[in-house]
């Protein structure tokens, strides 16, 4: 069973991520008073993209995108999905945190190779945004790690079975709020959709991606959405014992994110960093102090 899940789980994540992408397009369309595309539209797009003859800017252009997608695919293996967590024995939260770096790094290398300043600006925004939300995120994760005294995410989920959802337990609720405040930045939705910002820098890192590269980048985007949401379900909402319940929780968070996405314009990168380093970080700090003090 273990081995089967090892191969099945990334595929499930991929399918769910792509479906979420389609679903979010549909839901956004309804909020715009539109009919919206079919839910399977991303699949059609990906099929179309794979059949196009794309332009390649060199070997690193190819390898970067492969690294990015592969990196995202294997983080999934470290994240509990219901009771399934095939590789969680090989590393915990710290590894996940570091592996989440491979996706952007791959895209960054690949886009950098395309010799387009729009892509470079997009990457620099991505990295700045990352350091923007990493600061509160680290405070939040450290609060969790200190509270549960483990760096294994499976343990975190298991302990929540006993104590209830983290978001509903006292010292961690503060960190939970901070986490929810930065979740849009992690998912790169508006008001933090400034990495691609098509109206400003022509879709940023994606600017030279066409055909199969864009398809892989889209899949990677879907996966990173899956990872972001799944991480928050595991950390805040107690994970789930059954994959279906887990999916349901993810869906709820996705919907919340879409409402935020529909209601805000995009920020400038400076404002985004200022915001992230102000309230979420402060709340995260309070949460960490509380977790350390009460945890003792």
């Amino acid at each position: 069973m273990h081995v089967v899940w090892l191969f099945l789980y990334p595929i499930v994540a991929l399918v769910v991520g792509v479906l979420f992408l389609g679903l979010s397009r549909k839901v956004m369309a309804r909020m715009h008073w539109r009919y919206g595309p079919p839910i399977l539209q991303p699949v059609i797009d990906i099929i179309r993209l794979f059949s196009q003859r794309s332009a390649s800017h060199g070997r690193l252009f190819d390898l970067g995108i492969v690294l990015s997608l592969a990196g995202s695919l294997i983080i999934v293996l470290f994240l509990p999905f219901g009771d399934v967590a095939p590789l969680s024995g090989s590393g915990g939260l710290l590894v996940i945190l570091y592996m989440m770096l491979l996706g952007p790094l791959g895209i960054a290398l690949s886009a950098g190779e395309s010799a387009n300043p729009n892509a470079s600006i997009g990457i620099s925004r991505k990295l700045m945004l990352a350091i923007g939300y990493e600061l509160p995120l680290l405070l939040v994760l450290l609060a969790f790690m200190s509270r549960y005294n483990t760096i294994s995410i499976v343990e975190v989920v298991r302990l929540q079975r006993a104590t209830g959802w983290s978001i509903a337990s006292f010292p961690l609720v503060v960190s939970g709020v901070a986490y929810l405040l930065i979740l849009p930045a992690i998912l790169a939705i508006r008001p933090f959709e400034l990495v691609q910002a098509p109206q400003e820098i022509s879709s940023g890192p994606m600017v030279e991606y066409g055909g199969s590269y864009l398809a892989l980048a889209k899949v990677q985007h879907a996966l990173s959405m899956f990872i972001g949401i799944s991480l928050s379900v595991n950390l805040l909402f107690g994970g789930a014992s059954h994959p279906l319940i887990f999916l349901l929780k993810m869906l709820v968070i996705l919907m919340l994110g879409l409402f935020v996405n529909a209601a805000f314009p995009r920020l400038r990168i400076e404002q985004a960093i200022r915001y992230l380093w102000r309230w979420p970080s402060l709340i995260g700090l309070v949460g960490l102090v509380l977790a350390v003090v009460i945890g003792r």
């Binding site: 715009h32 508006r190 098509p198 109206q199 400003e200 314009p265 400038r268 990168i269 404002q271």
Partner: protein, 365 residues
């Protein structure tokens, strides 16, 4: 130190219209901006010299696709003033209503462009939907969605159809009923303020020095509006206000646009109440043999983007001798924009451009 040159447009999702800005960039700051127009240059004024007076009506509206109606008005007034044609009063009222409707449509288009630029899809989609309702009215009135060719020397082409006034009022009410929604979602949105306040700031002196009109000037506190200072059509028949704001940044400009839209809608209601009965056009001589006496004129009117002027010269022939449009986007897009962009962030290039409401076709002509 390597210089970085970025092209904003013509093929760019943030560029509304076929226009290009060459940006010299350091970090994410614009050091120097060069407007690069001409992608839409068709030599309009030359072409109009080749066509007879009446054939130029379909031509003239195509100068600006976003709001063709003020172009029609400017040309019609110029021709009327050269040929000495009077316009019946009902036609004046209809022209005003028609122009204000066009202004609402044009501002809604601008609102779409602006909110789309900021990544604000929801408000953008609403604005475009409401503009379409306005276009439906135009279609009913004139038969065309975009190009109407409705204003005619000596009046307008046809009277309001049966029940049009009622539908006009209903549509405007349904759009006006959404103003609180727009406010809640967009205009009062804190992030809109964050993105737009202090961006692309031009002072009153700079705006006047560089020939700014329209919202670009009104956002700096000058109530300069051709409709007030040299009233044409029926604008002196009803009371109305010129909305202004003081700061001269993108935020003020967009708020001026919003207030103007509301003011226009109110003005339409007032005009409808006051509208007299009667003819809507005076007969003109046989248009195919129409010669206009020698002379020159300069007329101006207030388009949705600012002051529109037309310098028209006739040598007594059946064609204009020289036509030259003073389009509002011309100083906005070529002089003020270059100034306003310097020192701003790359993120705000489109923001500033659309808040100045630069419409490329009327620059290039």
């Amino acid at each position: 130190m390597r210089e970085l040159e970025l092209y904003f447009g013509p093929q760019h999702l943030g560029m509304v219209g076929n226009f290009s800005i060459t940006l010299k960039v350091e970090g994410d700051r614009v050091v120097k901006a060069d407007a690069n127009p001409g992608y839409l240059h068709r030599g309009f004024e030359k072409l109009m010299e080749q066509r007879s007076w009446i054939k130029n009506f379909p031509m003239v509206c195509r100068i600006n696709v976003v709001e063709p109606d003020s172009m029609e008005l400017a040309y019609a007034t110029a021709v009327e003033s050269l040929a000495g044609i009077e316009v019946p009063e009902r036609a004046q009222f209809i022209r005003s209503i028609y122009l204000e409707l066009a202004r609402v449509g044009s501002h809604l288009f601008g609102l779409w462009a602006y909110s789309n630029m900021l990544g604000f899809d929801t408000a953008a989609q609403w604005a475009m939907y409401h503009r379409d309702l306005v276009l439906d009215l135009f279609e009913e009135l004139t038969g065309g969605r975009v190009y109407h060719i409705y204003i005619w020397p000596g009046g307008v082409r046809r009277d309001f159809p049966e029940g049009f006034e009622k539908r006009l009022v209903e549509t405007l009410h349904s759009i006006g009923g959404c103003v609180p929604d727009y406010d809640a979602c967009f205009f009062d949105n804190r992030l809109f303020y964050d993105r737009a306040a202090g961006i692309g700031k031009i002072t009153r002196e700079e705006a006047m020095e560089m020939g700014g009109t329209g919202q670009a000037l009104r956002a700096t506190g000058v109530p300069y509006d051709v409709r007030k200072i040299e009233p044409y059509a029926a604008y002196d028949k009803v009371p109305w206000e010129v909305p202004t704001r003081e700061d001269g940044d993108a935020f003020s400009r967009i708020w001026v646009v919003r207030d103007e839209m509301i003011e226009s809608v109110h003005m339409i209601f007032k005009l409808l109440d006051e509208m007299p009965k009667g003819d809507v056009y005076n007969r003109i001589p046989n248009p195919f043999k129409w010669r206009i006496p020698e002379g020159e004129t300069y007329v101006r009117c207030e388009s949705s983007r600012g002051e529109l002027g037309l310098y028209l010269v006739s040598d007594g022939g059946d064609k204009p001798y020289r036509v030259h449009f003073r389009t509002p986007s011309y100083p906005h897009g070529l002089t003020i924009l270059e100034k306003a962009l310097v020192g701003e962030s790359i993120s705000d290039v489109g923001n500033i451009m659309i808040s100045l409401y630069v419409v490329a076709p009327e620059i290039d002509r």
